[in-house]
């Protein structure tokens, strides 16, 4: 047994090395993008612009954290974008229509998100629907509900300037609070993922669901929890996007789910489950927004932006795969 142990030990070490390398690679791609745009564009390399990039990352970053949990379990959540919208509408209605105080709107939005997530989880864990289909259905349902509740009209936070101020106004060191909210959520999410039972079971589910079940873990309950967490992040996303727009817009949100999934996967989360990190996801989200803003600043036409974005998604994930293959 001696030799085998040493072998697997060295393999474990290389795995650990591999993992820091992964962050390094995704981070490397981000640094290259930042350096490239900074080099060729003076307006890009301004503090204001870096702040803009952070602000533009906030919503997608938060949604992508939820996506990360779900993808680590081996699932997928297509409903995060429209659930975000639904939550921003809930927030808007609570704050403006009911005359309730602002601080009640925030938990209402989060609860709404968690509820949609829980429905996703129940459909998947109890009714055994494939996650793709359950969340595709809920994508439509959330979107419809957002429009029904808002009567297909934006909800404005008139008479509630404190809401905008809380998240976007009053920047600290020039950085609006949405950015701090995103990083705060990231730290929390990362702790949950690496240091709590929920995190442990998230990885266990993605690694081998049946083995987890046979170990006496109530996998249905934990799966429902994970999708609820994703819904919770969608709720937070709804709050942030409402703050950014100083209103709740019932028809934004389509396509956000793909950006969130792309951010997680670019950041090293594996669509086959069992692997992923919040730090990687944040880097992935930063890559997406840096690319978007960079191309926009240097004035690349829209149609070329699409092509380049497509190629960068493919390239970034390919790099990650090359790295893993090189290691394996």
């Amino acid at each position: 047994m001696q030799t085998t142990t040493t072998k697997s030990q060295s393999r474990t070490q290389s795995l650990v090395k591999g993992e820091s390398l992964q962050r390094f690679l995704a981070l490397g791609a981000l640094v290259i993008l930042l350096a490239f745009f900074s080099l060729i564009s003076a307006p890009f390399r301004t503090t204001e612009n870096f702040t803009s990039i952070l602000v533009a990352t906030a919503v997608n970053g938060v949604l992508a954290m939820g996506a990360t949990f779900v993808i680590i379990t081996g699932g997928i959540d297509l409903s995060v974008g429209t659930t975000m919208t639904l939550c921003s509408v809930i927030l808007g209605l609570v704050v403006t229509n009911s005359g309730l105080p602002l601080w009640l709107g925030i938990p209402a939005a989060l609860a709404g998100g968690a509820l949609v997530g829980m429905v996703n989880g129940i459909l998947i864990a109890k009714l055994k629907l494939p996650p793709f289909i359950a969340t595709l259905g809920m994508l439509n349902v959330s979107r419809g509900l957002a429009q029904i509740l808002s009567d297909v009209k934006p909800v404005y936070f008139e008479g509630h300037p404190e809401f905008y101020d809380l998240f976007m106004g009053k920047p600290i060191l020039g950085i609006p609070n949405v950015v701090f909210v995103m990083f705060g959520a990231a730290i929390l999410a990362s702790l949950v993922l690496t240091r709590t039972i929920l995190g442990r079971y998230t990885f266990a589910l993605g690694s081998n669901e049946e083995a987890t079940r046979l170990s006496g873990v109530n996998v249905d309950a934990w799966k429902i929890t994970v999708y609820s967490v994703a819904g919770l992040f969608a709720g937070l996303g709804g709050i942030l996007i409402a703050a950014r727009m100083n209103s709740a817009q019932p028809s934004v949100g389509m396509g956000y789910e793909l950006d969130a999934i792309a951010a997680a996967v670019i950041g090293g989360t594996s669509l086959s489950g069992g692997v992923g990190s919040i730090a990687g996801t944040i880097i992935g989200a930063l890559i997406i927004s840096t690319l978007g803003i960079g191309l926009s600043i240097i004035g690349v036409p829209d149609q070329w932006k699409l092509v380049i974005t497509g190629l960068v998604i493919i390239g970034a994930v390919w790099l990650d795969i090359l790295r893993r293959r090189g290691r394996a």
Partner: protein
């Protein structure tokens, strides 16, 4: 007599279309090792899964320490003190050894939802010390060899300090030394009063370790006997309901001297080192060695399933380039993997589709259309020739028993007219009846002039079947023995010939 730990009576269980268990009975006393035997598909695993809370029984009662109980979930079984080692590995590859062992029972930190990794690893280390296992608690399970993973499963089951321990074929992937270690642990547990259920197809083991044997057949209970009072032959006849003549099959006296396959100086990283050998027409070449010696790696490299760094492969004396399995198949090589469900079969497809999978192009017209009359005929021929027990060609392979599945894999390569067959652990997890059929099949194939490499971890099997035996250790071929000179002792000597020993 001590009070019964477990008493199961009148247990029935159906799956849609199958009566897996019919009015079954089983009992377990404290401090006994109770062996459960039967052919593939007899219902052993199902019966034990009912006890472990994985399946709900349709009828019958379970008494635990005299009290009637309802075991509704794996957790409920754990709470009663019943733990199980499953027939298939059930591990989370992305998690570490310690994380796997304590999944669902993680030591908690400052708050009840926080993990305490330090305590977790310490507890695992402690467990390994009492079990004399050399495992790193922080190693990722996916990085371990199969035998080590099996040890993790065993450690996990033992960590519950249960009163009932069910082991469903724990020894299938272990070598003799590892089995000895396991038996030592079992005896230790028996002394503590733990009741142990031991399921195995290696009937010789029963004599070594068990107190009583219960035999099952076709989902029904047959008999329970004291091990000491029963002969293996009598147990076998109870299992199969007929007598099996286990005479040594006849090998063709002298395999042809024509070299069909030659491997020269094959290397791949540290797992294959300078491997060279020849395979003759009509020969069964046994490959022996401890688990992890690199036999599978050699087979996969020769077959093109994995890349190799250097080395030459010659077929009929001509060097050939084998980079993919497609190349190998084109050169008439077939490989039967040690894990047929993962690597050998398209389980949700039917028998016909699996049989012709490797040779489909032969049966296709110019437009790529499949000539179903021909594929059916070919599959039918194999089903007949190999006596594959299937109700029809349209049966999904998933629904066949383990031994029958193995025959389907063999059929696949025969249908492809394969000249060189590499069998990797062909009888793993297969009952005695099916086993002797596979042996006969191997002999027939050799007699027809096909050349066979047979990798096996069971020494009696290797000794009985091979014309010639190669022994591997740590990626090198450390010895070659003819059938006449080979003994278990000689093989073990070569199999443990580590590099350090050679150098000394």
């Amino acid at each position: 007599m001590a009070e019964l730990l477990v008493e199961m009576t009148g247990i029935s269980k159906s799956f849609p279309g199958v009566h897996a268990l019919d009015d079954c009975r089983f009992e377990l006393r404290p401090g006994e090792v109770h062996a459960l035997v039967g052919e593939n598909g007899a219902g052993k695993s199902t019966l034990m899964k009912v006890l472990a809370g994985i399946y709900r029984r349709d009828a019958g009662t379970i008494r635990f320490k005299g009290r009637e109980v309802e075991i509704a979930s794996p957790r409920a079984a754990q709470d009663l003190g019943i733990s199980i080692i499953h027939q298939e590995l059930n591990l989370m590859g992305h998690l570490t050894v310690a994380q796997n062992i304590f999944i669902g029972r993680e030591p908690r930190g400052a708050a009840p939802f926080l993990l305490d990794e330090k305590t977790l690893n310490a507890k695992a280390r402690e467990l390994f010390e009492t079990l004399h296992l050399k495992l790193d608690p922080r190693a990722r399970v996916s990085s371990l060899a199969v035998a080590q993973q099996q040890m993790v499963e065993i450690a996990k089951a033992l960590s519950f300090s249960s009163v009932v321990l069910i082991m469903d074929e724990p020894t299938a992937a272990l070598t003799d030394t590892e089995i000895d270690e396991l038996f030592r642990i079992i005896r230790q547990l028996r002394e503590r009063g733990t009741g142990i259920v031991h399921i195995s197809h290696r009937l010789q083991e029963l004599k070594q370790i068990s107190d009583r044997v219960t035999v099952m057949r076709d989902g029904g209970y047959i008999d329970t006997v004291q091990t000491a009072e029963a002969s293996i032959q009598s147990i076998i006849s109870k299992m199969v309901g007929r007598t099996i003549f286990e005479a040594t099959p006849e090998l063709p006296e002298h395999p042809n001297s024509e070299v069909v396959l030659e491997v020269r100086n094959l290397n791949h990283g540290r797992v294959i080192r300078d491997v060279s050998f020849q395979l003759h027409r009509g020969e069964i070449l046994g490959m022996s060695g401890l688990i992890g010696a690199g036999r599978t790696e050699v087979a996969r490299a020769v077959f093109g399933a994995d890349p190799h760094d250097s080395g030459e492969i010659l077929i009929h004396g001509k060097p050939v380039a084998i980079r993919t399995p497609a190349n190998a198949v084109a050169h008439g090589i077939g490989y039967l993997s040690e894990d047929r469900r993962r690597y050998g079969l398209a389980l949700i497809m039917d028998v016909e589709a699996n049989v012709v999978l490797a040779s489909l192009r032969k049966f296709a017209g110019r437009l790529g259309q499949i000539r179903f009359d021909r594929t059916k005929a070919a599959a039918q021929e194999q089903v007949k020739g190999l006596a594959i027990k299937t109700p029809s060609l349209a049966q999904r392979v998933r629904n066949l028993s383990g031994g029958t599945q193995q025959k389907v894999v063999v059929a696949k390569w025969l249908a492809a007219d394969t000249e060189i067959l590499i069998f990797d652990e062909p009888t793993r997890g297969i009952d005695v009846g099916a086993k002797s059929e596979i042996y006969r099949l191997l002999n027939d194939l050799a007699q027809q002039g096909r050349s066979i490499i047979m990798i096996s971890s069971e020494l009696p099997e290797i000794l009985r079947m091979s014309h010639r035996i190669l022994v591997m250790c740590e990626g090198r071929i450390t010895g070659e023995l003819s059938a006449a000179e080979a003994t278990q002792e000689k093989i073990m000597t070569f199999a443990t010939q580590r590099e350090a020993v050679v150098a000394a």
